[in-house]
Subunit: 463 residues, 2 copies
């Protein structure tokens, strides 16, 4: 089994980047569970025949859709060890708890957070944002946790840029604040929050009797990799007495590199930050992290008590790091093992080099796109995200939207590469997010070639 999986990772370059699932396979994956067991051999055979060949493709060197980590063989082994240990980090003492505490210490150090801050590993940045924003919500009015939002006066409103990730708005809905209570602030030409517009929005809400309580900065937006002016945002938050949370899903990792850290300057001044480890942290899904400057506020927001959870001075219930009091989960899998192994195996220097290499590759692709007359770069490329479109000649904007969507679908279906799309200033564009230590410059050239060829073909078809 190990051989098949490790060989599969080694030879991934020879496989298609993605393969559509035949209807036969889909049908097979609709059968009911057996009454009598099939045994492990038979299940492994099923897995190899119906499941492994149709993996998503993010382990492939030419997968750049969304913002996805590519995984490593060590990550696979961490998955094995974690599942064999089967730890539950819910306030019971074991080495796993100390490993999580250690990883949190490492991450606080890397992100410039003080030793007194607290942190938690979550399944990803969505829940990390949720935790940060729940702490923000409950810090503003102690009555919210006890008696609910309907019992506190003045509607709570927060601010994020138009380009902020969908998980920020979703956190607002989960937390009962409502989608509409997250004011979406316009961005400048570089897709960074317009701070004049932010100040005006806060003033308008104050005049309307609302209660502005937080501002959410983005460090590395998903659409373009842009980062809000975090230092000035920190100043505004301080002056306005707003909690300052930063969604730094992948942008946080710029902190590792002296060359890139300037882009996210101010991140270390946030009250809380959320970021992923399954992107540039070189671990498999799903591991995210939230760091909270005020450890006491963090614990106050999530602490719960129950007879069966009572701590004791000795034995299993004598635990130093109580992650189940820092987020919405009680039972928690051993997420820290992946980062603990990856950081030690590779070392910080190699993690940094992987980030720097991806950013260089993005710059190189952007330069090539600028040189190609049929292509148009649609946003600056400060980090690892490249957006562009095939524009050909004499095509209307409406035609271009459909054409570029078709180009991306065809390239995905061909198995050559997996770019994705997004919408920028009303246009559909091709998008690459390079979070992939397996990608070579040639891989990216191959993609640009494919966009040119496919773009011409679709344009010829009249599309």
């Amino acid at each position: 089994m190990i051989d098949v999986l490790v060989d599969g990772l080694r030879d991934v370059r020879e496989q298609p980047a993605w393969t559509p699932m035949p209807e036969e396979v889909k049908a097979r994956l609709r059968s009911p569970p057996p009454r009598e067991g099939l045994g492990l051999e038979a299940v492994w055979a099923e897995l190899q025949r119906w499941v492994l060949p149709y993996r998503l493709g993010n382990v492939h060197p030419r997968f750049w859709a969304r913002v996805m980590g590519t995984g490593t063989a060590t990550g696979a082994l961490a998955g094995l060890v974690a599942a064999a240990m089967n730890n539950n980090l819910s306030g019971l003492e074991s080495s796993a708890v100390h490993v999580e505490a250690q990883v949190i210490e490492w991450l606080k150090g890397l992100m410039g957070f003080p030793a007194s801050a607290s942190g938690l590993l979550t399944s990803g940045c969505s829940l990390a944002n949720l935790v940060g924003l729940e702490v923000a919500r409950d810090s503003v009015d102690g009555g919210v946790k006890a008696e609910g939002l309907q019992s506190v006066p003045g509607r709570l409103v927060g601010y994020a840029s138009e380009e902020a990730h969908s998980s920020v708005a979703r956190a607002f809905t989960v937390l009962g604040l409502g989608n509409g209570s997250l004011r979406r602030i316009p961005v400048d030409a570089e897709f960074r929050m317009d701070l004049g517009a932010l100040e005006r929005a806060i003033d308008a809400d104050l005049r309307a009797g609302l209660r502005p309580f937080c501002v959410v900065g983005s460090a590395g937006t998903v659409n373009t990799g842009s980062t809000d002016p975090l230092e000035t945002l920190a100043e505004i938050a301080r002056e306005r007495r707003l909690v300052f949370h930063v969604d730094a899903a992948f942008g946080a990792w710029a902190k590792l590199s002296p060359r890139l850290a300037g882009q996210v300057r101010g991140l270390e001044r946030a009250d809380s930050i959320a970021f992923d480890l399954h992107k540039w942290g070189a671990v498999p899904y799903g591991v995210g992290c939230v760091l909270v400057r005020d450890a006491e506020a963090h614990r106050r927001a999530f602490q719960a008590s129950a007879g069966y959870l009572a701590p004791y001075p000795r034995g299993v219930s004598a635990v130093e790091y109580a992650g189940h009091e820092l987020g919405p989960e009680l039972s928690r899998p051993f997420r820290a093992l992946g980062p603990w192994m990856a950081f030690q195996e590779h070392g910080l220097d190699r993690l940094r080099e992987a980030v720097e290499k991806n950013v260089e590759q993005a710059g190189r692709v952007a330069a090539r796109i600028r040189r190609e007359a049929e292509l148009e770069l649609t946003a600056p490329v400060p980090l690892n995200v490249v957006t562009f479109r095939y524009r050909g000649r004499e095509l209307s904007d409406g035609q271009l939207d459909a054409l570029n969507a078709e180009v991306v679908m065809r390239i995905q279906e061909s198995g050559v590469a997996v770019p994705s799309t997004t919408r920028l200033r009303g246009h559909t564009v091709v998008r690459l997010a390079i979070v992939n230590h397996r990608s070579l410059d040639e891989d990216l050239d191959l993609l640009v070639d494919a966009v040119l060829e496919t773009g011409r073909a679709v344009a010829r078809e009249g599309g």
Copy 2:
């Protein structure tokens, strides 16, 4: 590596059930991350020396603290495969998505939910409860998602028994409803919700102008394994127009057994149910599930849109099951693989037998406790949870609390077994939750012997 881990699981009976961590080990797990990588061999050596020996102990045949699954070798392999595939189930087409959809279909069938219902795998029951209750909250008033709780009239209140799990109250705080908006209804002598008291509480809230919106039943409470009268609760919910959610963390698995299913009759009438797979589902942490009868309400509560998430008719973004639109996570690990492998390897009959065996063992322990003059059974044992205390002779209730806590700590520290404690009707009691296919009758006898011996020793020392 496989050998060490699989041998470790095979020989687990020879190891202590739990081992306190020496200070030296704790200190080691405080060192900073290396600049230069150590390589995989060195990390594996570190892992074997500092981490593996101090696992939590829930893989051991004599671990019965909280309510914890014990894990299997196949579960470990599922962890390996899932991490090697490194799927992200966030609305992108791959076999993993179809495997999750298949597992959800299986679970709907087992729980008696209709084919039209929807479901989602979460990290555990805490988030499953959160999802169910968010759907409930947003079903009541469409304005909540858009404009927040502060914009809708009438405070929303819900109901659960005093014995309901802490994650239900926590879901209320996360959702902005507030702890205090979950009315805790007293229980009867069998720790089941007192339905007269429920009706009175609803009436009182209505008179006070509040908006009762949901009632949460428990199927298998963590303290005693009791189950609320679900059929009558379903009736009350229907008459009162309340959403009926059931927290069935481990009780749901009684559905597998014709002999036990009567205990959770009515579960299939709930609007939503939450339960765990990492308990009786024979998979490692963390996998829980929420099923929602009204699939459209489920999707409406969580659906989000963003340019980079746009679906397409072909290619990677053409996905049939969109789990990221059914819960708070966007990126989602491949949780379904463990259950997919376990259900097929073992078959439903063997899963059922494991549940029935644990329930029989609980009954057998209870019978022995009833026979022992120095012990007192402190609650009925309808399922797999046994609570009791050492009462000795002529000790006051206050002395007994301290004594029983001390007994549990000593037994945990000895490595013989891991029971836990809870509080029942104001008393500290010893508690066993048997969710462990490795446990033998002898293991449980050994625990009872240890409680008797340790109880006598502590009593002799003066309590």
